[in-house]
Amino acid sequence: MSAVLSLKDVSMVFPAATGGGSITALERINLDFEPEEFVVALGASGCGKTTLLNVMAGFLQPTSGAILLHDSPITGPGRDRGVVFQKHALFPWLNVMENTAFGLKLQGVGAKDRNAIAEENLNLVGLSEFRNHPIYQLSGGMQQRVGLARALTTDPEILLMDEPLGALDAFTRENMQELVLQVWRRSKKIVFFITHSVEEALFMATRLIVMSPRPGRIIHEYDLDFCQRYFELGDARKIKSDPDFIKIREEILSIIYGEEIEE
């Protein structure tokens, strides 16, 4: 079976801000995304995670290599790849429903049809009773849920999530992790999720890639099933305090710290 989305030897080199040098943000990244995968990229700041996401979304053209969606190269952003941002990036001049239905409106879908689809996705993130609220009256967690519903509404094949929970408080964050997993399970999208929380990465991923900076590259990959165990048990804290979980968590932390000490 060929991958839905695959990255072939993707490199990204930026000219340095000062001097004539350059910074290699990504070096020969190879990644394949299979259906229903939840891939998490983990790494310290500056390891190229966000660059990787921007390249996959089509916001940036890689310096070399190719990104193939169903074997054809992507040339720019498109509806097949929905994006959820760290800062919600919603439109404050639209209410919750209008924000969620925005993508369908652009496609010329009639108000009734697009609102029905938006409503479905607002239900999925538990916000349908807030449909008429202005964005700026919502809490940070609710704004991120609208961002997720909005990205789902155009029915992309893959959801790209750029540290979507990074700006939330610790309690909201844990709840949102579970919500994102539920949404993923029900929508059956491929998810590419960026975080710098090891616990979050381990808990959510079916596949975890650990990245290291300068040059940004993948240094480790894990296949994980903690999210499946969560679906069976329904108790997130229990999974996160499991000895297996803690063992891998410490292993990954030592990899990341080890990388930093090497420099």
Partner: protein, 297 residues
């Protein structure tokens, strides 16, 4: 130090360690207005200053009734109702026009200029914000003429466009144009790159991004620009009406000054101030209505 104590004092907000300058100021403003009016009345009542230099509030008000033809219109209204046989009071006005005619002429000039500025400066400002060629073309002329006082290029507008209304409107137009174009240009930068990216990844075309994201996000700044722009229009009004205008609040003030009719000069100033103030209030309401999200996350 004493001054710092007065102006840096936050005690009345019950938040001594909060940001300085918070709390309501409406009542204080009303008191200030009352004090100014009271001092004006007292000084003239005690005849400390001659009426030629400072006419009393009563005098200005009676001039207001006179040149707005209050008696004439009151009698006309009574005749209309059948409560009076004929109109005796004449409509004198000032400079051959009643007050409302002066006001209407000035409103016509300011708002024509404002309208022209809106339909030209907003598109040009938006283009400057979004296109480097437009920015390169329009930046030097706008930045060059912007700080020049309108009085300096008033003679030029007369040489070019004569002494008709177009020259007057053009002068006010120039005053309105620059601040509006600059606000629109700045407004275009208001949306975040994430908002633009979000729209693209939902399948937006470039035109859709401009229309549904960039321009919507620019709206708060553009509305602020409108307020600044119309205020510049009012400040240029008197200069614009200096040459060969028959009616208008600016002409009224200038003619009154020539005859040392200080009361009418006062009246004209108050009328311009109040008109601009009322319009600004309406614009604020419009802002509240159109961009309720302004300044909120």
């Amino acid at each position: 130090m004493a001054l710092l104590k007065i102006f840096g004092n936050n005690q009345e907000t019950k938040d001594p360690y909060g940001a300085p300058g918070t709390g309501k100021s409406t009542l204080i403003s009303l008191v200030t207005i009352a004090v100014i009016l009271g001092a004006w009345w007292l000084v003239t009542e005690l005849e400390l200053i001659r009426a030629l230099f400072l006419p009393s509030p009563g005098l200005v008000f009676s001039k207001f009734l006179k040149i707005s033809c209050y008696d004439h219109y009151k009698e006309s209204f009574l005749v209309f109702l059948g409560l009076r046989a004929e109109v005796v009071a004449e409509c004198v006005g000032f400079s051959e026009n009643a007050l409302h005619q002066h006001i209407l002429w000035s409103l016509y000039r300011v708002f024509s200029a404002f309208f022209l500025a809106v339909v030209t400066a907003i598109p040009i400002g938006v283009a400057m914000g979004m296109n480097r060629i437009a920015r390169g073309v329009f930046d030097p002329p706008i930045e060059f003429y912007r700080p020049i006082p309108p009085l300096a290029y008033l003679p030029l507008t007369i040489i070019w466009f004569g002494i008709g209304d177009f020259a007057k409107i053009f002068l006010i137009y120039l005053a309105c144009f620059a601040p509006l174009a600059i606000s629109a240009r700045a407004g275009v930068k208001s949306c975040s790159i994430e908002q633009i990216h979000a729209a693209y990844s939902m399948g937006a075309s470039r035109n859709q991004v401009i229309w549904h994201v960039v321009l919507k996000a620019a709206l708060p700044e553009i509305l602020t620009g409108l307020r600044i722009s119309i205020a510049f229009g009012w400040t240029t009004l008197v200069a614009a009406e200096m040459v060969a205008a028959k009616a208008g609040i600016g002409v009224m003030v200038l003619n009154a000054a020539r005859f040392l009719a200080t009361d009418i000069v006062f009246l004209g100033i108050v009328v311009i101030g109040l008109t601009a103030f009322i319009f600004d209030g309406l614009m604020r309401q419009l802002e509240r209505l159109l961009v309720p999200w302004r300044g909120k996350g």
